[in-house]
């Protein structure tokens, strides 16, 4: 732990603002990384949507897995007959 971390946050921010930096480079890169990972997860992972709900219990009875449509899927080589 460095000395900077032990000072009150407002003072640290004040000093950073004076030096022209609001956040450190490492923290900034970390945030970018997390954002990128989140974006990939949204694009790649199939997410689920509720399809039908039980009127009495409110519980979902049927759930479809939805995959995002991509043009490239149309031309993918496949082994399906027909």
């Amino acid at each position: 732990m460095n000395v900077e971390d032990q000072r009150p946050k407002t003072e640290a921010r004040k000093q950073k603002a004076e030096s022209g930096k609001l956040i450190g480079r490492r923290r900034f890169l970390g945030m970018c990384g997390k954002l990128a990972l989140g974006a990939i997860a949204v694009c790649v992972m199939p997410f689920e949507i509720g399809f039908s709900k039980d009127k009495k219990t409110g519980k979902t009875r049927f759930v479809m897995k939805i995959k995002p449509f991509r043009d490239s899927d149309l031309y993918k080589k496949h082994n399906l007959a027909g």
Binding site: R61, F69, L80, G82
Partner: protein, 311 residues
């Protein structure tokens, strides 16, 4: 009758609160652009591309199903796209596909989705193709045929017991579906997958060809397709090519004009020959048309009309 929350045999129909619902309407699991030759349709606008789609589930349970991963799956178990009929038509137009095919799993299972898409496609001057096992009652069949232009119908066995044992369907409705398609002006081609020991009896193959000639005419193309071990029939070997060639000879002997062998590449048996002068009309390499000698529906060499739908 389905009890509340119970699924049908096809897995994609369920009784929710007293209403029978098609769970995959607007949710195709497979959407591809294929050549029309892949359906297979050899006499229907050769060389054209088709936007092909399927949803999960099927009304048949063929032990040899090549597409069992989607046909025998619950719709919620495999990822699907969200594409309503309107979006499907827009996609076909955007990708320059002049035809749509309801295929891979049986369109009679996702009937409402196929019907609405077919109607919309026709309104937009697109052609519709059914690739089906032909196992459906006549009334719903009439509605679907009325908005479809072509069908490749599987005639899986010419023996009712084997039909039941291997596919869970029966023969009679399939024969009726073939006759009705012909009567309603739908262009029909037949696929008959020959499975060693199950339907490779030449006497039965001859009987089937005679039935086709007598009830549908000699111009209905037959595709004898090679079996490869799949799903629950992995214990059987692939069909010997000689068996397929003999079946083709039998069909010609009976008087069928256009007979092909499928799932065997690089053979002259995937070409179309003129039944009048024997000239090569369409040369195919796999699903690709490399030569076409049909002009305005006629043989370029002798001028005879060739059955099919041509440009």
């Amino acid at each position: 009758m389905l009890a509340d929350n119970e699924r049908g045999d096809c897995r994609l129909r369920a009784n929710f609160d007293g209403k029978l619902r098609s769970l995959t309407y607007g949710y195709p699991c497979s959407v591809h652009i294929d050549p029309v030759e892949k359906k297979p349709l050899f006499h229907f606008y050769p060389g054209k591309t088709v936007l092909s789609l399927a949803t999960a589930g099927c009304n048949l349970h063929c032990k040899n199903c090549q597409n069992w991963q989607i046909s025998q799956a619950n719709p919620e178990d495999i990822p699907s796209y969200k594409l309503g009929p309107g979006e499907v038509i827009n996609l076909a137009i955007e990708k320059n596909c002049s035809m749509l095919a309801y295929t891979y799993t049986d369109p009679f299972a996702f009937y409402e989705y196929a019907l609405d898409s077919s109607r919309l496609a026709r309104d937009n001057n697109l052609k519709n193709i059914l690739v089906t096992a032909g196992y459906l009652n006549q009334e719903p069949l009439k509605k679907l045929y009325a908005v479809n232009d072509a069908a490749n119908i599987d005639l899986k066995f010419f023996d009712d017991d084997m039909y039941k044992k291997i596919t869970s369907a029966t023969l009679r409705p399939v024969l009726d579906a073939l006759v009705l398609a012909k009567q309603m002006g739908v262009w029909v081609e037949i696929t008959h997958l020959i499975i060693p020991t199950l339907n490779d009896d030449f006497t039965l193959i001859k009987k089937m060809c005679v039935w086709i000639k007598d009830n549908l005419g000699k111009d209905v193309p037959i595709h004898f397709s090679r079996f490869y071990p799949h799903y629950l029939l992995k214990n059987l070997p692939p069909t010997p090519v000689e068996t397929l060639k003999r079946a083709r000879e039998i069909a010609f002997e009976v008087g069928i004009n256009y007979v092909y062998i499928g799932n065997v590449w690089g053979q002259e048996t995937e070409n179309t020959y003129c039944p009048y002068d024997g000239q090569l009309l369409i040369k195919r390499v796999g699903y690709t048309v490399v030569e076409n000698n049909i002009e305005k529906g006629n043989c370029k060499f002798c001028g005879h009309s060739i059955a099919g739908r041509w440009e």
